[in-house]
Amino acid sequence: MSHMTHSLLRVVQAGPLALVVDGGRFGVRHLGVTQGGAADWVSFHWANWLLGNALDAAALEIVLGGGLTLEVEQDATLALAGADLDARLDDRPLAPGTTFAVMAGQRLSFHQPRDGLRAYLAVPGGLATPVVLGSRSATPREQLGGPRGDGSALGDGDRLEWNPCQVRGRRLPFGSAQGVTLRGNQLALVPGAQIGHFSGTSLYRAFNATWRIDTRADRMGVRLLGPELRCRLGSMVSEGIPMGAVQVPPDGQPIVLLNDRQTIGGYPRLGALTPLAAARLAQCLPGKEVGLMAISRERALASYRSCLEAFR
């Protein structure tokens, strides 16, 4: 790491899971390397936007909170977006969607999810961790990215550093879409070519049933519990898996594949969630009830574009 970096946050207690993330690792899927990156990319963008950073600058994705405690080693301005994990600066509560000044010696801590699952902590200019295969995102299973470049999640005693730079702190515009991924329980899905192989009853169920988020949910994929779906295709020859793919293994319970999914797989798919829906799913705690809603590719793209407009 360069001599210009500051040691700014020291991990006193790592909590259940905190990862260095950026926009993800692209152009390497053909090597068997997963995408990684911020699971709720919308909140992640807001965290960076608040500091005037590049929207894809590396930040911290904090899952659940669970006692993660960071000690401030130098004064700075930071930003928080996404889930409300009962964050506090010493004893002062911090609201998601704000920038705040921190002073050396203060402690920043995250406790329990009150709304959503993943919070994003952005630092001026982005975290200066090693770039591996074009990205700083940590993917523990693949041993790539993160504080040491070896894929590890944040651990006790780790130090987070960044290059000193001028901060242009912003306030959220009135009615801004920060928090949009924490609201709503309809997940929009663009139907894929294999949808015709599902039985009519299964399709009716897929889009009308209430699906419950299983406890088997992580950055690779999220299982949905509900009625059994049947597809005439059993297992198929393995092929590339897009982000948000809703695959249905033989047990009939869909799995939505997210950022850290395997690059290829062989289960039939209903289609793929839109980028906004995938971000929304990443904020769902186990037990939450959601619905799947089919929308056209054109509508998905229009909604994606308008979502990006907010950051201009």
Partner: protein
Amino acid sequence: MTHGARIELAAMDVLMVRLFDDIDESNMSWIVAADRALRDAFGDLLIDLVPSYTTLMLHYDCLRLTHGEAKARIEAVLSRLEPAAAGLGRRHEIPVWYDLSVGPELERVAERTGLSVEEVVQRHCGRDYYVFALGFAPGYSFMGMVEETLAVPRLKTPRRRVAAGSVGIADRQTAIYPLLSPGGWNILGRTAVPLFEHARSGEPLLLPGDRVRFMAISRSEFERQGGNTIPLEAAL
């Protein structure tokens, strides 16, 4: 071009180019050719292209290219596609130490096939394998086809930990685990070739269309190459 190629919608900004329906070694010259031609045709509008046994999944930049334009580019590529000449991929010889201590399923495969352990090793080394696809982990290559007599299904219960360098078979496929991971393949031996380090640098040793020949080596040769001799079943 191949007859019956299809372009399917996979996601808002992802198209699946389906060239074949079944796995076959002869697919690879077409898949490799399509991979190259699609990369050329899309240039920096391509976000990711994932070739597999019968398909290529194409993720394009939907903010700069419409769905119609993306489809038209793919159709143009397919209409003038010629199979890549055989041998365009590289051929690799990969040394493997076949031993029960690092290849605990040598006996299972021998039992199931009625062959001796020596014959299992000989047959696994007895032919060139095509790399069909990369996936599962950085640099993990799915290769085939394994001789029909050696085809043994994967373990009922996958192992939680398979050592880096482990060489395994499942049905008619063979693969090397680049890094410590869970896995359910029948492990026959171990190689010292640093597949993960290659993948991590962005230049994997094995690419789709390459051919691989395994060479049986002794324990001392394996150690000389820097191989890790800790038995698979030991705590890793």
